[in-house]
Each structure stands twice: as structure tokens, then as C-alpha cells.
Symmetry: C2
Subunit: 70 residues, 2 copies
């Protein structure tokens, strides 16, 4: 499994987490999504490495900004 | 028209506002709902005075706490 972590800014509550989760789960190859508004983290797992740009775009669709964690 | 104002605690974003709105709109007699997470306000309008207890319960259903404004 390949895990990729992102920092997401702007999430304030569980509703925000749900919005991000719903969009990111639609990205091809994504098998699981963990998201925390408290930590501002998004962890995406798939059998293959995920398309980071697609994940970032999905987060933007939900109304937030993401960057790949260093 | 009768307008009743409440203070709502716990809302952090537009998703929270939407959750409150959806529940409060279901209260019988409610014709319009204005809600602001920034101000923590909920303004409910109806032809007759609204049932304040029903509004407060609806807010609780959404996951927040409301009190009638003084």
C-alpha cells in the first residue's frame, strides 16, 4: 500500500472533513482516506501511489487548500 | 410576521449553518431561517410566534446549543 500525506487548511469541523473525504474518495486509485480538521491532515492510501495533483484538486473542489506534506 | 432570535454556540462554518438551517426549517410554522456561524445567531420567522422549545430542540438535533436571545 502507498500512503501519501497532505496538509489541508481551512477545515473547521467534522462537516468539513466529510466534504474533503467525499471528494478525495472519488479520485481514481484511492482506497482509504483519513482526514482531521484538528490536525489539518489528510492521509490517502491506495495500492499504487496516488496522483497528488488529483488529490489536491479534489480538496479544492471541497473548498479547501491542500499541499503535499514534506 | 413574528421574528424570534436565538444565540447558537458551536457553529464553525457554512456547513454548520446548513445543518442548523435544515433542522430548523422542519419546525412547524417556520417560514424563514437566517443563520450566521460568525455571529452565532439564528433568526426564525413565521406568521405566528414560533415554538421556541421546538426550535431549540431542532438546533440540538443538528448538534449545537441554542438559547433565546434576551
Amino acid at each position: 500500500m502507498n500512503t501519501t500525506e497532505f496538509q489541508v487548511t481551512g477545515m473547521t469541523c467534522g462537516h468539513c472533513e466529510m466534504s474533503v473525504r467525499e471528494e478525495v474518495e472519488e479520485v481514481p486509485g484511492v482506497e482509504s482516506v483519513e482526514v482531521s480538521h484538528q490536525d489539518g491532515t489528510l492521509v490517502v492510501t491506495g495500492a499504487e501511489p496516488v496522483d497528488e495533483t488529483a488529490v489536491i484538486s479534489a480538496v479544492q473542489e471541497a473548498g479547501y487548500q491542500a499541499v503535499r506534506s514534506a
